[in-house]
Amino acid sequence: MRDVAIIGVGIQKWGELWEKSFRDIFVEAALNALDDAKIDKLDSMYIGCMSSGLFVGQEHVASVMADYLGQRHLAATRVESACASGGLALRCGLIEIASGMSDLVLAGGVEKMTDVSGDGATYALATAADQEYECYHGATFPGLYALMARAHMKKYGTTRDQLASVAVKNHDNGSLNPNAQYPFKVTLEGVKNSVMIAEPLRILDCSPITDGAAALILCPYERAREFTDKPVIKVTGSGHATDSIALHDRTSLTTLDGVKVAGQRALKMAGRKLDDIDLVEVHDCFTIAEIIVSESLGFFKPGQGGAACEAGETRIDGKIPINPSGGLKSKGHPVGATGIAQVVEIVHQLRGEAGKRQVKNARIGMAQNMGGSGGSSVVHIMEVE
Amino acid sequence: MSKPVGIVGYGVHIPRYRIRVEEIAKVWGADAPSYKRGLELREKSVPPPDCDTITLSVEATKRALKRAQIDPAKIGAIYIGSESHPYAVKPSGTTVAEAIGATPDIHCADLEFACKAGSEGMYIALSHVKAGEMEYALGIAADTSQGAPSDALEYSASAGAAAFIMGRKNILAEIEYTHSFMTDTPDFWRREHEFYPQHAGRYTGEPAYFKHTLGCAKALLKKAGAEPGDFKYAVFHQPNGKFPMRVGKMLGFKTKQIEQGWLAPRLGNTYSGASPMGLAAILDVAKPGDRIFMVSYGSGAGSDGFIWKATDKLPAVQKVTTQTYALLDEKKFYLDYGTYAKFRRKILKNY
């Protein structure tokens, strides 16, 4: 199996991009990545996209994007695993290069979410849950995470303030990220007094509806220097796992076993321990998600993720910086693009290009991407040479 | 005389929401005290948006099955009498039969005869068993009654259901006599595609309710060679609190005989469900040997009369599941008119 490097990253300002189409959003990010890698031809492409059919009425995404990227006849594939589609696209590209099938692969992700109403977006996102046994009864995504939050609060005494501290920390970080959708700070009181969505989660506990895309250029590690003068980022670990689609079928309502298994697999492949990780981007679709993910990955003992965030341990200058990019919370959450954007952030950090939000001495970074209420998860570990 | 037939299981369901007469009167500038006095109504049950004739029927039947302790697959027929079947075309009975596990070997029909459809279902179910056609048959009386905003009916139209499993084994209340009485009397109707029924005002009283209830009751008493004093209990259709008491007194029944099944003052008019639910409330307390006189009434118009006799099997099952008065009086939620209007889909959304 060949080692794989990331030689280019592309991302643009995320948000409600009223002027930009689904295809333009993706092509802009992809062109950025191609330019960053200083290449113009690809061997293949994987695009993470959760629900373009419901968001913009367009399936057959691979054909549209390859063509508009100026790569007609490219071997392009759309990858779907709900909000983990992006992370999975990276894994697919990684496998293709590791196998020796291709050399230059773009792994990207895109979602255009604002061409439907809020109700339409709620509906589209809910398709990542069990349609017959969750959504049929009125479950929404905030609702499912709220169920986890309430169970976590009951079992471990996680507090409303601790949930809010995740949003405060991520908005602090996001305020330093020029590409973030909401690069403003929020206060503890602001989060706690924001509009109620699904008790106990309020609007500022939730990641937003976002248009956006991100892209990575992958190549065999031994060829990386042919293309780039920047620090070469090696993908050393990739872990992928699924879990039950329905939250109620999980072994526990307060841990995410799919995340745990994916994390262990990634660490094993990289030959690393958790202690080796300098920073991590996690899938904070809701504040409670960051807390439970940080525990399931093993950074904190079960029930201590909230207290750790509140104590500042996960800040950029903390013991283990979590979501220096601002996370899904502040940066935005164009679902199919999120997993790729997390890796874009890790690359910026490992290259030392993260500006004001730079994590000091960042050598090894982890990105954890998650689908649905935890029904799938993809974890990658990146290292700088 | 042929082998006895009767009720082998019964159950009731009532939505937990209520609205008081004053709350409705306030909105329409009506005189609440005179309504309460004139109609003897205090409050009525209100179905939330997720309750309808089908769901009420299922819950009432689940209670009937708990009392009957029979295999639902042995039920050979299901009849639901209602004037608020959720579908204009598609039976309520199929859903109910499926929910209780009585499909697929079962006969089914939805019935409609204004407020008498429920007793019709009971009558047909009894007849099947009496004829030896089947071991058990299910008659359900259920409604989420409609009353137009500001109309007199709005103060009474309520929701509830009673289910009766008829059979020959382990009878709780044996049927002694039945009688039906009917003429063509247009006192109350609802045309196709209309939301709310219309009524003919005071014509619904003397020439309609009273004529048919009395006509049926007198014929039934005669058939049985009985007098009002022979009965421990009596229950009549109760479009309001006043009519059943009055018709009972006209026949010679006393308040004491009527009041156990007199649910209207705090339940309202459950249309098809009215007298059957009253019967269920009586069965909750009746003792072996007690005879029960029952006459329903449905506009259009007609009455079904039944004489029941409680057996020694009844006391053992009275408390195996929630009783009628508990459903009527416990864990109630009072609604304001706005929420009531939302629940009953009376708010016009212009989009």
């Binding site: 049929y136 169920l147 109620h248 | -």
Partner: protein, 130 residues
């Protein structure tokens, strides 16, 4: 709601029918074709009990469009004696009084209404024990 899609779930939604593995006894709701625990492929049909215990809940204030008129409503996960958990709405309760650990019972309710003319969808909701 597509009628065929709705109708095929009726045994689960109306009667809470579950599949019990004939080999290891594990219970699944809804049914499965292969046992998650032991891989056996034969099951018997059992009924889930009427009463469950609430393990977690939320009150949804921004529901999907089909549930707008019911907002806010409580949604909870109950654990049943057979070992399965089920997600459903909790109704007929003061939303302030919902508590983890409380006993709830299953009641038959209308779940969705497909516009003015589509089919009516029924199933289970949780209500306080009466």
């Amino acid at each position: 709601m597509n009628p065929a899609r709705y109708a095929r779930e009726i045994p689960h939604r109306y009667r809470l029918e579950a599949a019990k593995c004939k080999k290891c006894g594990a219970v699944f709701f809804p049914h499965r074709l292969i046992c998650l625990k032991c891989g056996h492929r034969q099951f018997e049909t059992i009924k889930i009990s009427e009463h469950g215990k609430l393990e977690t809940f939320t009150v949804i204030h921004t529901p999907a469009s089909d549930f707008k008129d019911q907002s806010p409503f409580a949604l909870g996960i109950c654990k049943f004696p057979e070992g399965v958990r089920i997600t459903a709405q909790i109704v007929d309760i003061d939303l302030e009084k919902v508590r983890i650990g409380m006993k709830l019972q299953v009641e038959f309710r209308r779940i969705q209404t497909d516009g003015h003319a589509g089919i009516l969808s029924y199933g289970y909701k949780f209500v306080p024990v009466i």
